[in-house]
Amino acid sequence: MYRYDQYDQAIVDARVDEFRDQVRRRLAGQLTEDQFKPLRLMNGLYLQLHAYMLRVAIPYGTLDSRQLRTLAGIAREFDRGYGHFTTRQNLQFNWIKLEDTPTILERLAKVEMHAIQTSGNCIRNISSDQFAGAAADEVTDPRPWAELLRQWSTFHPEFSYLPRKFKIAVIAANEDRAAMRLHDIGIQLVEQDGAVGARIYAGGGMGRTPMIAPLIRDFVPVDDLMSYLEAALRVYNRYGRRDNIYKARIKILVHEIGADEYRRQVEEEFVAVKQLGIDPPRAELERIQAMFAAPAFSADAPEAIDRSDPDFAVWLDQNVAAHKQPGHAIVTISLKSIGGIPGDASADQMDLVADLAERYSFDELRVTHAQNLVLPHVRKADLPAIWTRLREAGLAEANLDLVTDIIACPGLDYCSLANARSIPLAQKLAVRLAPRQHDLGELKVKISGCINACGHHHAGHIGILGVDKKGVENYQLSFGGSGAEDVSLGKITGPGFDEDGVVDAVDRATCTYVELRQAGERFLDTYRRVGMQPFKEAIYG
């Protein structure tokens, strides 16, 4: 894991001091709310429906037990005893007092954490593959590259007042576990002639105008990466639209001028920027990579797992993935208990997971964009013990990637932008479909409470968008989206439904899938093969 040196620590400490001063000036009336807003947003502090929400950055979704315990402590002391893991691999506290935030940031800084750029029209927390460093299919661990980008983007003097927020994901495998092409810039690390470099996609995103990012550059060597990204961002900063907030993301610019013209402008800018000497030496990447060296796996860890407990066997088959190291495995801890709030974890649960990480996973944890947690490096022999403790804490739901593993935004229960509630719908759907979830297999349901698409509904095999229809909550249903390597955007089925109606419609759609599926087909595959019509007939009859 990355460890701060004196420079990283000094920058984060200065940030705490700066924010303390900004809060003081706000409370003293020296800053108007209008002036304070972008400052607090750039520190992850939102004013929601009922209270302030503080979003803590978890860079590329990696953290250790000490950090998770600190988050648990903050949840107990300053919130209501829980936190909410987000689709950007971050953590949100929903019940924060403005005057407590400097103290909370101070606590975070002590464990090398911060809330820098978790909001605002700047480069946001860099997301990555939650299986990084553990998956067998990666060309390299993407996290050192993400850390390089974290540092480059932190308080970037030119790109702190972009037309709109800017999200970057870095992956290093062909299997895309991070929705890479639905980002403003998506980076896939690839190997070319023995060297690793970055394949750059730009102009993807969700929101009200979802777009899949086109390929902009096939290979950028590490020595050019900062210059190239600087060029890509500069073109956007100068020419992205600022007249309409809904057309201000880079996807609109790339779409309006076309990928070829955007690429031409970036390449032209890159020629100018490259001469400035702003790229760190390769030794900097190597310095960071040394901190992400593989843990000391035991070479003779046994492969055998006792499957005699049937409940354990179900969990093993569903939530445990192959590890690159023999005798080891990757455990996903579901934060989607049936009827619970997707992504929520209590302080006690966080402490327990921190204990498990410390004892069984080389003190490492991950947050997934699907709002679950991961123990990335566990010995297969330890799986029964881990499962037993998870079960005691209500964390052993065996539903990874199943229909009840729902992504949902906070919705109208918390968010001042929302048009409809997301959480109660996710709960109803999960309760209804849980009995059939293993038969239905992989089926990704994603719910957004408004057009901003924080719940990634465009990328759901089944997507649900909450809208306001003449003062009544209404839900639009879509099928066929995917945020994975087979990326696609969902298509709306037809007229919307009320809350119970959309649960019934999803239920009927899954029955249609069961009737029509061929061997080995997921819901998404069947939908892609047969099209919308049979589903439409089942839903609208």
């Binding site: 920058i11 002036q35 029209n121 790109f159 007042y161 100018a272 310095r287």
Partner: protein, 152 residues
């Protein structure tokens, strides 16, 4: 970072980090500079205008004023860096909705003169400019980025 001078221009407050005297010729628009007033030595760039249009003329300009119509409009940061990267050494002034919390970023993008619409508190500004001793990126100021401190 250079010492801060408080001056004024036409009675309006002006914050400068330069040793020379403020340029007193009024800035002309980019269009008129390019079309008729080609002898002008001071030009004002509006937020959407292309700073690169000035690159052939930098050696005879003493002042370039870049407009920040609202503090949220960050195009001026790119304009500043583009001008400095091309070697412009004259006064580079940020004018408009220039606030204390954005000013350090503007300094890093090469601005050395500020004409804020509303007055900036001196103590807050000093604290704001002194707060960060380390910066991760190289930009258009003499700051040594952290990666160079680490690796020499």
């Amino acid at each position: 970072m250079g010492d801060l001078d408080r001056a004024s221009i036409g009675g309006e407050p002006l914050l400068r980090f330069r040793d020379d005297e403020p340029h007193d010729e009024p800035a002309v628009t980019l269009d008129s500079f390019l079309a008729e007033q080609t002898n002008a030595t001071a030009v004002r760039l509006e937020a959407g205008e292309d700073a690169r249009a000035l690159l052939p003329h930098l050696d005879r300009l003493a002042l370039i004023e870049v407009s920040f119509p609202t503090f949220r409009d960050g195009r001026g940061y790119s304009a500043g860096r583009i001008l400095r990267e091309a070697g412009y050494a004259g006064e580079l002034r940020a004018a408009g909705d220039v606030l204390v919390d954005q000013l350090p970023l503007m300094r890093r993008c090469g601005f050395d003169s500020f004409a804020p619409e509303t007055e900036i508190d001196a103590a807050t500004l000093r604290a704001s400019l002194d707060r960060y001793g380390d910066h991760y990126q190289a930009a258009a100021d003499p700051v040594v980025p952290v990666w160079r401190k680490r690796h020499g």
